[in-house]
Amino acid sequence: MIMTAENEKPKQTPPDRAVIVRTLDLEKVYGSGEAATYALNGVDSTIMRGELIAIMGPSGSGKSTYFNMIGALDAPTKGRILIDEVDVAQLSASELAFLRCRKIGYIFQSYNLIRYMTALENVTVPMTFSGTTPEDARRRGMELLDLVGLGDRWQHRPIEMSGGQQQRVAIARSLANQPQILLADEPTANLDFQTGEEVLEILRKINQERGVTVICSTHDHRLLYLCNRIMWIRDGKVERVEKRENMTIKTGKIGGES
């Protein structure tokens, strides 16, 4: 935590950029007693509106857990999460559903597509929940599938698609309701070089053209060239946060680390 304070240097962030997600002393413990695992152990972090932040860290360091917390998908054991300065713990069930449905887009590490729905149906689920008419949902769903290059596979079910294709459906779904925040948990992990490049390009475009805050965990070094900042997590703690300008020279070392 001391390291975090030193590295974050909040005063250096541009003044026009407001904080969109803030966590205070976040802690998440799985299990109890002897078997207790500290997946997150006192995470203080701030994420600025409109930035593209990469979250890096070894496997099991708590990245997915961090995502679930700031995505309001799970309750922390201790600490607070503020989304646009509103404490998530104070929201009602209905407001939480609203937030998850329209303000945050999720790309899960394990996709979490619904097995019995076609690609298009999967993409339109969030639109169904937001009350979009079926025609609009269908049209926008097709646009999103085209965007991720799966326009011709809209009626395939998850089991009929490769891992990479499922991942792209998950990406299309995350954009269904034009979220303000996009949480991407290793969105390029299962993609070949070329498709991975395309997905990163999509993330970049969404970030730059629509001003969506993109929080992306990854082991993919290409992201380092696109992001504004990198947050390093290790053993449930924020190890350090760097701005991209300050670290281009160090890429070689980073590769060895993750």
Partner: protein
Amino acid sequence: MKEIVAKNQVELGSARCIQLALSGIMFRLFRSSITIVILGLAVAFLAHMLAYSVISGTTERAIWAELEAERSLGVRLRRLESPDAFASLLLQFQKQDAHRLAEYSRWGALSASEMEQTLRRAALVADFERAVQNFTNRQRAILAGDRNAIELLEYIVSPEALNAFLERCRQIEVRSPLGSREALETLVTVEWPALQEVLHRVREGHRRAVAQLERELEGQRISDALIQTPEEVKGAAEAVGFYTAAYDFDRLAAFARDARHQRRVEESIGSLRIRQSLAGRLNVPPVEIHSLRVMEWIAENKDHAAELDQLLGETEGVEAIGADNLYRVATHFLKFRRLQSLVPIAPDLDAEDRFFGLDQSGRWLILLAFLVCVIGVANAMLMSVTERFTEIATMKCLGAMDKFIMMMFVFEAAIQGLVGGIFGALFGVFLAWVRGVSEFGGTLVLAGVFGTVLLSALLALTVGILLAVLAAVGPSFAAARLAPMEAMRVE
């Protein structure tokens, strides 16, 4: 400026729910059909129990009515030929059958006040009999020994016996019959002798009436006269005090005729010649020729009837009956026997007014069936919900409200319950019908049960749907209530 303002999520209509539930069922067609089959079986079980109870109850009551009609013809014929037994007289005064009482007051020359007295006394005796019947076996052994109620009544007529009886009642803490000593004493010393006197008088009157009837018919046996000239016998019987309006004399005559034919056949088997030739035809030793076997043989076909009739005609001292008559008597005899074996004791006649005609044990069985349903259905729904926790969790991550998720599962359960229930109810009723046919055969009575059977099918269907829905609410509520990622982790 705030970019993210949390508002309330929109609530979705049931149309979307049903749509989602249906597509879920279609996808998991195999899994759903197992659930549907389990639901269907549970509903079939219930529907079957209810419908069969209705069908068999109605049939048994109809068969009993037919048997009773036949028996009452026998009773009527007997009453024309010999006086009522003492016990049956007493019973009739207790049951207060208007027709019988009219006859009795004529034969016993009972005045209105005498009739009233007699009815009151008969009712008192009935009270006494009921009290004795309600004793436990042990109490009965101590208080009455091996006497029945009437014997006991006659035994305690002496003051010593009465005292001893009351003393023993006190000892084993039994309320003495009729309550007080005085009431019991008047019953045994005054009422019972007076009642007996009237009953004897009535019986004597009945005997005189029968004798007079025989005289009137010029020495013919009454049943023979009845077969030939029913109208004449009717007039004569009326003249001697029988209440003939309640008697259908044509039916009575037919009954008497068939009874005579039947007796002829039974008597003829006694003749060695006939017995031997029948044994040859039936291919059994002569000792095994008895009336049931012969009746069965006759009923096989009309040729057999003709053969026997010819045999009878050739035999000295026996006259032929006619093949058609023989055949009819034999089939009727067998039918009566079969009905008797189907409904050997009186069915519960009040059952008609009860819940689907169920008796005590039937209701326990239904309860059991219901429990089996609950467990089967709960298990099926529990499985189909728990294997979908990930799906529930995903939907929650994407902004589904708890209510919507619950609604989806409720609709799914209701749809499955409806489909399974309809097939199950039809199947259950069909099975009840098959079981009824195999048990009662052609005597199965289906008239008038349609409404009740339909009702039992609908009831079972409703129970099935309700159970399915209730069983789905529990686990899906548990799932919907969790935070999305917690639900994702549940195995």
